[in-house]
Symmetry: C2
Subunit: 314 residues, 2 copies
Amino acid sequence: MSNILNFGPLRRVVVAGGTHGDEMSGVYLVRHWIRDATELRRKTVTAEPFLANPVAVEKGARYIDQDLNRSFEERNLTAPDSENDSYEERRAREINQHYGPRGSASACDFVIDLHNTTANMGSTILIFTPDDHLAMHLSNYLQIHCVDSSSPCRVIVAREMTREPNSLLTIGKHGIALEVGPQPQGVVKADILNRMRALVKCCLDFMDLYNQGAEFPAFEMEAYEVLERVDYPRDDAGHPLAVIHSKLQDKDFLPVKRGDPIFQMLSGQEVVYDGNVTVYPLFINEAAYYEKKVAFILTKRVISAVPAVHVNQE
Amino acid sequence: MSNILNFGPLRRVVVAGGTHGDEMSGVYLVRHWIRDATELRRKTVTAEPFLANPVAVEKGARYIDQDLNRSFEERNLTAPDSENDSYEERRAREINQHYGPRGSASACDFVIDLHNTTANMGSTILIFTPDDHLAMHLSNYLQIHCVDSSSPCRVIVAREMTREPNSLLTIGKHGIALEVGPQPQGVVKADILNRMRALVKCCLDFMDLYNQGAEFPAFEMEAYEVLERVDYPRDDAGHPLAVIHSKLQDKDFLPVKRGDPIFQMLSGQEVVYDGNVTVYPLFINEAAYYEKKVAFILTKRVISAVPAVHVNQE
């Protein structure tokens, strides 16, 4: 076959939990795997678990000074340590030294970054590098082999994040973030934890097959791409005047068209969507986005062709 | 009739939101009522809305230095201001000066304190003073007149809290806390907000009837009383080794008997309840209780006789 992409084998794989310290499934799983790594071992690879923001985890907070998952900008990673650094700026450099450096030959081969959301996002895979075809094959493998009728695996390609990479998973040669929800911040729910655990185990199964020379044929991938962020209606002081409409709540990934209700004003009226194109809202009512003034994110569905991949055994 | 309790009319009623700054239904409702108090007006009384911990609300945190709703101990309320005060100690004194002082003739007549929980507690009424019979009649009125098939109103009498009163609602002559859930911290969900709004409106309807001389006959009240708090199994570093079992999650107020699963260990085993008496767990998987090392609270059901009440028009 003429069009097969070759990447190297996946020898060094890391699994990060607690990148946001109050997203608890990853925190609990990583702590468990540090005690007992059996589940992370495969014939050709053993994943390395680590807590990305241990100080925020201990505090039960998303972060200490700033969002760690926006702290991996090149400008920060290459800066010298300074007394004025935030905790997360320093921690991002440490992580990059240990598991990167990003873009170098010694960077780890694959990063799996574990996240939770308060939105009803089920099992969502985020890819921050639109040409990471290996991550796309892994996603496709999860969609086929990690089936849960109530929670299909969907893929978001966060194309905009690639302009200036700043997330943890970009320090590896390949990577995905898993967003599993709904789960409140600071809470761990058995069903969400079990789902995330199954996804990680399935990721490692894929990697082991890939390392052993399995060829993964070309396929067409359906994914969601960000169009815009939508804020709540607000009063002059900046306080929201509305909440997510009950008909939109928990409807992540379902189509919204002109006239569909999106907000319920405290004063009683409904606000409807007035766009002309059908959109797919995601991260509906995500707790962490209140401070970012984001009620939900509108996306479109895209189909992209992903070439076959096969390991290059060097 | 011989056994009718008489209390004064309810002239000054306050509705507190944001006592915990990340419990959002009360925050949104109080902000709305400060803009437009129409819903809080009745013929004989108009409730006064206020944000109890506005600094924590702005920060999106439960509290700044310590739990405001444990800061109303007499020792603190009567202490002089000091540079070493926590924010909440000072704020508790301010609130007590404004809406109390507790135990004085000028204390407000009724406090409604609005809370949310991440647990599946539906519409729960907390009474912190076991002889607050007026609060019990109000609860009974809500149970009859504010019906929601998916969310019956249940009452917890927190007898233990009365040894040393330290909660906000104890500054009034009468009071209840409303705990409505499940709702993640830092998130407002339309259904939970609407439910809390209906409950507050129904409270004011009761107060208006009471003020106008309606007699509320004696009744038997079913309530839940705290037996003990149950912590998670932990490792030597103090980190939980288990999560709430999926068969217990969301089962607040339902009976648990010997042999029922309560925890799922990360290592795979189940932990079962080994007590001899049937118990009713509450606040199962409440986010705020992780730091208190409480996985859930075991309660028993009790029935108590509540005498008739009638306003004493002075």
